[in-house]
Subunit: 157 residues, 5 copies
C-alpha cells in the first residue's frame, strides 16, 4: 500500500526545509505520496497539518518550524509544539516535529548546516517509524542527535 | 463563492489594528465578507473568534492582539495563543495570530510602524493561505518577517 | 430577555472583589440576574464557573482572581487562566478573567486601588460585550487599561 | 445523602498528607465516605483521581502533591496542576489541589508545619465547598492563606 | 488475567532504558506481556504510547524520556509531559513518566547510575500501582526518590 506523508514548512524559515524533506522522502520511500504546503509561520503549522492529514488520508506528517531567538519566540515554540501533540493524539499518527532555533548556531553557515542535517535525519527517523520500527529498537539509547553529530551511548561505569 | 473572514482586535491595543485589517482584506480580496468585533483584551479574543466563526460560517480568522511588557503579560500571551490553537484545531480553519509586544520597539513611533507593518503583512499572508497557497510554497524558506524587513534565505555555504 | 451572569471570587483575595462586581453589574444592567460564589483560591475558580454556567444558564461569567508574588504563583496563574479559556471555548461564552497580582503595586493602598479600578472597568467591559458590542469597536486600539489610567492610542508618526 | 471524597497523595512527599487529610475529613464531615490511594509522584496523581472519581462516584477530590525545588520540578508542577484542571472540568467536580514546595520553608521543621497547616486548611476549604458554600461568600476577600497565617483583607484607604 | 504493559523509549537517550525496563518488568511480574517500541525523541513518545495502548489493550504504560540541558529542551519536556497526561486521562490508565535530564548529574558515570536507578525504581512503582496499591498507601509521605537515595519522611517537630 502506498505511504502518504504531508510536509508543512514556513516562509519564516531561512532554509527551504520543505523542499529538502520532500526530496529525502522520495529517495528513502520509493512510491511515497508526499503532500506539501507552506504556511507563513510556526503557529500556522498545526492546523495545516491537521487539514492535510484529513484531506489526503496521510499516514504521518512532518512539521518543519523555524524559531526566533527571543523569549517570546520560545513561548511560541511551546504553543506550536503542544498543538502538534494534540494533532498527533487526535489522529493517532506521528507528526515528526522538526525545529531549528535561530540562536542555536554561532553563525549563518553553521545554522544552515544544522537545518539541513536536522531535516535529513528526521526524515530518516520518520522513514524508520513508518517502515522499519524494529530498527529503532536496535538503536535505543544510542545517543542519536539531529542537527549535529550523534553523542553515542554512555559507557557502563 | 464568497470568502468569509472574521477579525477580532482589542481596546487594549494602542493602534486600530482591526480597522486596518478590514481595509487591507477588502483591498486584497474583492467581494470578501468581513465580520469584525472588538473585545477588551487578549484573553477575550479566542472565544470571540470561535463564536464568530460559528455564527457567520467564516473560512478563516484574524486575531489581533497587543501584549504588555511584563513577565505576567507574556504568560497571558501564551494562554491566548494556545487557546487560538484550540480554536483552529476544532474548526479546521486558519486563524492567523498577530501580536504586537509593547516592549519590542525602542519608542512609540517605531512601535506604531511595527504594528502597521505586521498587520498588513499578516493580512497578505492570510490572503495567500486562502487564495494562492501555491505562492506560499514558492516562498518557503525565504526568511519573511512581519513587523520589519524580511531577512531573506541563508546562503548555501 | 434577562441577562444572567455568574461571578466567582476567592477567600485568598484581600479585597471583596465579588461583592463589588455584583453591585457594579446591578448598577449597569438593570434586571440582570447575578449568581455569585466564592471559592478558596485561583485553582478552584474555573470548575466553579463551569458548574454555575451550566446550573443557571449564564450568558457570561466573571472570574476574579488574586495572584501571589512568587514564581510558583505565576505558574498557578497560567494554569488558572488556561482552564478559563477551556471553559469559555466549551460553553461559547465570555468569562472575563480579572486578576490582581500581589506584586504589581508599591504598597497596600495602591494595591487596593488597583483591585477596585480593575474590577469596575472589567465589569464595564463585560457590560459592553453583552449589551453594546458596537461601542467596543469604536474603542478599538485606544489603549484602555484596567487597574490604572488608560494609556491612549499611539500617535501616527 | 452520603458525601464521597477521594484522596490521592504520594510516596515522594515527606509528610503523610493523605493520612492527615482522611482524619480531618472524617472529623469535619460525619458519615463521609473517603477513598484513599497513594501514587509514586506528582504526575501520577491526576489520572488516579479521575479513576477514583469514576469508580466510586466521588462528589469531590483532594490531590496532595509534594514538589521539588528545581526549575524542572516546577514545570512538573505546572503539568500536574493543568491536568487536575482537566479532570475537574471533565467531571464537573472540585478537586482541591494542595501542593507543598520543598523550597518554600527555611528548614525541615518549618516545612513540616507548612504541610500540616496546608492540608488541614484545604480539607476545611473542601468541607465548606461541599457543605457550606454560603460561608465561603462571607469570607470573600479576607486574605485567607494555607500553610501559614492568614494575611487578612486590605484596609480601604 | 495477564497484565499488559507498553514501554516506549528513545534513540536520543544515552542508556538503553527500554531494554532495562523490559527485563525489570518481566522479573517483577511473572507472565506479564510487554510491548516495546523505540522512537527518535521525546516528542514522539506520547502518540506512540497511545497507539500501543489501543493496539494491544495495555493496562499501563512506561514512557522513558531523555531530556537535553538547554532551556528549549525543558520546554520540550513540558510539552511531552503534558501530552502524556492527556494520554492517561483519555485512556484512564497510568503511564509512568520517567525522564532523565542530561544536566542533572556531575558527570557521565553518575548520569548512567541516575538513569539505571530511576528506571528500576519506576518499574517497581508501576508494579505496585498495578499489583499492590495497598503497599503504596503504607509508603505515603516517606520521601521516596528515583534516580538517587530516598530522603525519608520529615520528623515531627
Amino acid at each position: 500500500m502506498t505511504v502518504r506523508v504531508c510536509v508543512v514548512d514556513t516562509t519564516f524559515a531561512r532554509v527551504d526545509m520543505g523542499g529538502l524533506a520532500v526530496r529525502e522522502l522520495q529517495r528513502l520511500i520509493p512510491g511515497v505520496r508526499v503532500f506539501r504546503r507552506t504556511v507563513p509561520g510556526l503557529k500556522d503549522v498545526p492546523v495545516e497539518v491537521l487539514r492535510m492529514v484529513e484531506e489526503y488520508g496521510c499516514d504521518a506528517g512532518l512539521a518543519l518550524g523555524w524559531v526566533g531567538g527571543s523569549p517570546v519566540d520560545k513561548y511560541t515554540y511551546l504553543v506550536y509544539s503542544m498543538a502538534l501533540q494534540l494533532v498527533q493524539l487526535e489522529k493517532r499518527i506521528h507528526v515528526v516535529d522538526v525545529t531549528v532555533h535561530e540562536d542555536e548556531a554561532a553563525g549563518e553557515e553553521e545554522l544552515y548546516r544544522v537545518a539541513v542535517d536536522r531535516v535529513r535525519k528526521h526524515v530518516y527517523n520518520l522513514y524508520l517509524l513508518l517502515m522499519r520500527p524494529g530498527e529503532l529498537v536496535r538503536m535505543a539509547g544510542t545517543g542519536r542527535r539531529q542537527g549535529g553529530p550523534d553523542v553515542g551511548p554512555l559507557r557502563r561505569p
